[in-house]
Symmetry: C2
Subunit: 276 residues, 2 copies
């Protein structure tokens, strides 16, 4: 693991690190905020998964999470959204290939050798963090924005017991039925939709649910809301009697101005579950 | 109008009054909490509509609303749930007739002469309150529980501009499709379902929406949740991109213990809209 940068931040440290990833067969970069409390012992960990076109850096610099994570004494990890590099497959579209991993393990060419974000996040990166930083592996929660909201919800429901709470900002809710999902899941997982079910938050909510609280925020003026399909997840959450809050926030769009407005409430929500 | 009782309460007054109702052709009783500020001039008004079997009294004594209404400087009116008295039609079932008006104007025998709760609430009682108490008619919001949540949502959407915000505790969300609704709407409005559309919160949310914020709470252990059908309203709210929060509260049932747990948040929610 290489340290690319470390900056003092709200009494703790905002670091950026890279490491050779076995799962993705390339070097992967991530951001990690550690609060001051991490110098005394392990602290809880919040995962923040980012959206289409993002690297580890966007949310780290624009979401405003560190102020509230410092207050709550919680670490936040900002992974990248896909494998990257010259030997890694890509596509000219902004929503496929590098920067658009969709948090799945690809089974189809040309993506299969590197695009293993599900396994990278669920196994490799967590283990790396626990070994190298003061992280309390028993206290983890997860959030994300847009494609990262999709990732947060599907990882939370797909790995029961791993995360204590899950939230999302403007998540892609029903990729099996959306232009933000159908072409990517076909490319990565193949045309057989039975392979998609474990990567669709609405279907997983219908069939599995989440053993903990759920918080979803989406802006009423989100320019991509028809692609996000919040109504499908809202229906599934209520039909399952899932503990949670589904909120439509008046006037907000899809940007980091939206995320930074509600990040305090999301971190407080996770802190309550993480410190319980 | 007759004063049946007045009690000092959180620095204001909890009163109970009765009056001959022109709409319902019988005497109607209601509770009204006025905060201390009402002695200096008109205050905003929150309507609280109650559920099946309730009179004006249940929520007035068990919801715990007065503490927070006093803090917010807001009046709360607790109407009855139906016309009552010897000359008024009734049914042995707990969910039809007296105590079960469903907030409609009945068009069918034997209900039509008295069961005019929609008009009673939307016209007569409001006018009476404005004339007799220090109520600011330009600042009104509405909430309710169960059948009263249905009433709050349908009145709010059916009377655009009248209410600034609407909330509900465990509302009947889709009476057209539920055993809590189909038999009553048939009895009161007839079998032609086109007459029901203006009295179904999910259909009204789909077709009309609400020009203001919406807050819905339902318990995950609500013993009547299958009759309430929260999933239909949750879907409709998100599909409409309706500003609002739809929450499923872990472990809570249908009782006033549930209502009193969240009444503070509901009154704060309405206060924000009423004082804006």
């Amino acid at each position: 693991m290489k340290t690319l940068s470390e900056n003092a931040c709200f009494g703790g440290t905002q670091g950026v690190y890279s490491h050779p990833s076995k799962e993705c067969s390339c070097d992967m970069t991530f951001g990690l905020f550690l609060p001051q409390e991490a110098s005394d012992g392990p602290v809880p960990l919040l995962w923040y998964l980012s959206g289409l076109t993002c690297t580890h850096e966007n949310a780290m610099t624009k979401a405003g999470a560190q102020a509230w994570a410092a207050e709550a004494g919680i670490a936040v990890v900002f992974p990248d959204t896909s494998p990257r590099g010259e030997g890694v497959a890509d596509d000219p579209a902004y929503d496929l290939g590098q920067g658009a991993g969709f948090y799945v393990d690809a089974t189809q060419a040309p993506w299969q050798p590197h695009f293993r974000m599900w396994s990278y996040l669920s196994n490799e990166l967590g283990t790396l963090l626990e070994r190298n930083f003061a992280i309390d592996a028993d206290r983890q929660s997860i959030t994300g924005h847009s494609m990262g909201g999709h990732g947060a919800l599907t990882l939370a429901m797909g790995l029961p017991g791993r995360f204590r709470s899950v939230s999302a900002f403007a998540p892609i809710c029903n990729p099996s039925a959306s232009d933000w999902g159908q072409s990517q899941l076909t490319a990565y997982l193949g045309a057989d939709q039975s392979a998609w079910a474990g990567h669709d938050a609405s279907l997983m909510m219908r069939d599995l649910g989440f053993d903990g609280p759920v918080l979803i925020d989406t802006g009423t003026k989100d320019q991509f809301v028809d692609l996000l399909m919040p109504e499908t997840l809202a229906q599934a959450m209520a039909a399952r009697r899932q503990t949670g809050s589904f909120r439509m926030q008046p006037g907000y769009d899809h940007s980091y101005f939206f995320v930074q407005t509600f990040i305090e409430e999301h971190i407080a929500f996770h802190a309550e579950a993480l410190w319980a």
